[in-house]
Symmetry: D2
Subunit: 117 residues, 4 copies
């Protein structure tokens, strides 16, 4: 792994901490608590990103997005996945038809009209 | 290409689309709608990650985390930030004291006891 | 009409609309889309409450909390539940030991120490 | 206040606890921590509602919706609002044009087409 692959390295650290002592490691503790505890953190950290952005505080936006990405990586690990899977998906979308595929994909998924959305 | 490069390239594409035609580009449309529309997507996509994970569907987990990261990158761009800023923050935390800093930082932030947390 | 009555009447309206024509009724359309569509709205509306509150806009806070409660009532209906079940739970907590039970209950649920929480 | 007005009574209890001792009262503690702590709980509890619903556990759905409503009532109080304001808004919508106003209102707000929504 190249030195500039931050997420891959972070995933390795998460994998290593996963089986550690829950009393000493935050990551081990979160895995010990189980899936719902991990997912709850995603809802929580997403809310913190929103609040930091509403405050227009770039430093806090960075810190909260880091928290959110970190906890999504824990969720990925809990499902046997790695950041590379997400990056490959992002590349795939961009490669095939550009980012606009996001819109197209979701529009198809939600077709039939959704007045309130 | 490293993960860092993938995110950097994606940020470039977002920057490029940003000023485009809202009728043709999803990214341009989201920027045109403004900050709240972007942030709302973060709450929405975080919820979709949680639902995919509850369903134990790895393929959907990857797709929804990709959506969530993509929209956090749009929020970063809206604040003049880039994924590199988040990666640097993640590296910094790891560098100083390992991931355990997450726990310490949050514990300090929340000190004074929070029974319900 | 008491607040309890308002919620009960709203639940009746939801139940009535549930089986209606998805092309004409937002409620029917949401039920037709299924559980995930309903739950996604809860994540979305919760985010809108947070944003309205950050903006300090009381009128929008009221409107967004109304949206959030309305969609939680749809989720309740999807599980064969009614607002009265939630009100009974709120009364029960208050009756036994006051609102402080919230704190105690959660503290117990999360016992064992959670540095980052 | 009539005995069957659960939310109004709960709002009174919240108002009473608000100025209490943060060491003894969860409500006092949450107010002492400020707006962001309250709003974060809304994101957190919304996520818990979603997870309970995904598990199809009616008892937990009731408990988590109770948590969510309780914390939205704290957010209302923080803005000088009461549940009656939300109930009046829900009645108003129902009274004027039925629940379908939700859809119409949001559709207008989002007009111009939103492929990805």
């Amino acid at each position: 792994m190249s030195g500039n692959d931050t997420l891959a390295r972070l995933a390795d650290v998460i994998a290593q901490r996963r089986g550690g002592d829950p009393d000493k490691s935050y990551v081990a503790r979160l895995f010990a608590k189980g899936n719902d505890a991990i997912l709850k953190k995603i809802g929580e950290e997403a809310t913190e990103v929103v609040m930091a952005a509403k405050d227009g505080d770039p430093k806090r936006v960075v810190a909260e997005v880091a928290d959110l990405w970190f906890h999504t990586m824990i969720a990925l690990a809990a499902h046997g996945l790695r950041p590379a899977d997400v990056l490959a998906e992002l590349e795939r979308r961009e490669g095939i038809s550009g980012l606009e595929e996001f819109a197209a994909r979701k529009a198809i998924r939600r077709e039939g009209g959704e007045a309130s959305q």
